[in-house]
């Protein structure tokens, strides 16, 4: 089904102040894949993400999401297909209550009344946040906010889920909960993260960005075994793959 394919061809992006954030990035992600995009700060991860739902206009290169090339005309459909969850849930939860936030997306798609209610319920149930329905966001914990943020995106029935630093700021328990949730999704998933252990557990494929270019693109485990590559890109192995601090092996 071509409709869940994400194809990026030779994407370049230069910011107004002259910074070359992306220098010819290309890759192809197919339906159901779970891919991590990792790299040092400033490597271009966020810039890449912002292209995927059309927030940043593609000036050089091409992006194709499913059947649609990314153009101003196809923007609404692309934004429904690509569900993006940002790093700071406070930026994503901008309505007075959880219900309103989750309903925001579907309302923009034209849903009203019972249909809307059902959609919101379903999305909240998926992330286990049904009981948070009428709470204002400022009274949620970090983990709850993240889950609700995901629900706001799920309510639009996206085919592709993109998340920027999903586990950042979470305590170990909340992190576990979130990872269990994400494992359960069958969408195409694209994550950026510094949490390499999460990447190891959740993503079978990893793309490494360094200074705006793709340095490596392949099976996660292979990449994490390549110490030279990791070092060159200001990364290191996930803790799970480093020596045991207790018995030193």
């Amino acid at each position: 089904m071509s409709h869940h394919i994400v194809e990026v061809k030779d994407l370049r992006h230069v910011y107004p102040d002259g910074t070359e954030a992306l220098r010819g990035v290309s890759f192809r992600i197919t339906h159901g894949e779970s891919v991590a995009v990792i790299g040092a700060n400033g490597a271009g991860k966020s810039t890449l993400l912002l292209h995927l739902n059309g927030y940043l206009a593609t000036s050089q290169g091409a992006i194709r999401i499913g059947d649609f090339p990314l153009t101003p005309a196809t923007l609404p459909e692309i934004r429904r297909t690509v569900g993006m969850v940002f790093q700071d849930p406070d930026d994503q939860l901008f309505m007075p209550t959880v219900f309103d936030d989750v309903a925001f997306g579907p309302q923009n798609l034209g849903l009203v009344g019972d249909e809307l209610e059902a959609r919101v319920q379903e999305a909240l149930a998926r992330v286990g946040a049904g009981h948070l329905r009428d709470k204002p966001p400022y009274r949620l914990s970090g983990g709850e906010k993240k889950r609700v943020a995901i629900a706001t995106v799920l309510a639009m029935s996206p085919d592709i889920l993109v998340m920027d630093e999903p586990t950042s700021g979470l305590d170990p328990f909340a992190r576990r909960q979130l990872m269990a949730l994400l494992k359960d999704f069958h969408h195409t998933r694209i994550f950026t993260s510094h949490d390499l252990d999460m990447v190891l557990e959740l993503c079978e494929r990893t793309i490494v960005l360094h200074k705006g270019e793709v340095r490596a693109d392949g099976p996660t485990l292979d990449i994490f075994r390549d110490e030279a590559l990791l070092a060159a890109c200001r990364l290191e192995k996930p803790f799970a793959m480093q020596g045991c601090p207790v018995c030193n092996r």
Partner: protein
């Protein structure tokens, strides 16, 4: 620093009260907003020297606080704390208005004192009514009521955004203010220059946050139009609530119930 923390704490408390589930909480917000407005208009329309005529109006806050399970002490404290301007202006009344209007035996009470007391009572009633409204309705519901009653959508959306981010910004502001205080090393006051700098940085961060929020809105299909929130019903109960209280306020306004009661009682006793 303490002022931010304290103010936000109050804000949270009042907001929390609004999540109660009593009968009055469940009423449609429009009824409550309208009754509050009638109440305030009635109180404020009484003559300058009316004092006893104001007393029957206390029935409304008393009853509503009881029905809505609102802690009296908390509301009372807030009312007391925020009377400064009215007090400051009102306290000139006894100075400028010395004509004696009421005689209690040998004691003569001047118009100035009467009107000053009247001002205090008015302030308590009106401010109390506003707090109670929030306590039994909740801010988002009030905004929706305003929207339904005809307020421009852009304004109600603004109110909702403001409410949503008040807490976030206060926290951010509080953190920065605390950092500034911690580096003051015992110097008593912090000057306007460091304040200006603090505020400038907070402003820029806020601007960036606004851009990110806009991004999140676009990502969820926003195209310039804000949609109404869920629908509410203004039914029989709401009508009764509105008509009942409004009628009572009108009665209190036209008939000096205190005077009436007093005459009856002293007539019976005397």
């Amino acid at each position: 620093m303490a002022s931010i923390g304290g103010a936000v704490k109050d804000f949270r408390q009042l907001d929390l009260l609004a999540t109660g589930d009593t009968g009055v909480h469940r009423l449609d917000a429009r009824a409550k907003v309208l009754v509050t407005l009638v109440f305030i208009l009635a109180v404020v329309s009484l003559g300058k020297y009316e004092l006893a005529a104001l007393f029957p109006f206390f029935l409304y806050p008393a009853v509503l606080m009881a029905l809505g399970d609102l802690p009296v002490r908390h509301i009372a404290r807030k009312v007391v704390v925020v009377l400064p301007f009215a007090l400051m202006v009102g306290m000139f009344n006894p100075v400028f208005d010395q004509t004696v209007l009421v005689r209690l035996g040998p004691l003569g009470i001047s118009g100035g004192w009467l009107s000053f007391a009247s001002i205090l009572v008015r302030a308590t009633l009106t401010v109390g009514a506003a707090l109670i409204l929030v306590g039994i309705t909740g801010f988002p519901a009030i905004c929706q009521a305003l929207d339904q009653l005809g307020m421009p959508r852009i304004f109600t959306v603004q109110l909702l955004f403001l409410y949503r981010y008040l807490f976030v910004l206060s926290e951010e502001g509080g953190r920065t203010a605390r950092a500034r205080e911690l580096r003051a090393f015992g110097k008593k006051g912090l000057g306007w220059r460091s304040y200006g700098s603090l505020v400038s940085h907070l402003l820029l961060r806020t601007w960036l946050r606004a851009e990110r929020i806009h991004l999140a809105m676009l990502a969820r299909g926003f195209a310039g139009e804000f949609h109404p929130r869920r629908t509410t019903r203004f039914g029989g109960r709401e009508f009764l609530f509105f008509a009942g209280w409004s009628g009572l306020f009108l009665f209190f306004r036209l008939v000096n119930v205190s005077q009436l009661l007093g005459t009856i009682v002293t007539g019976v006793l005397g």
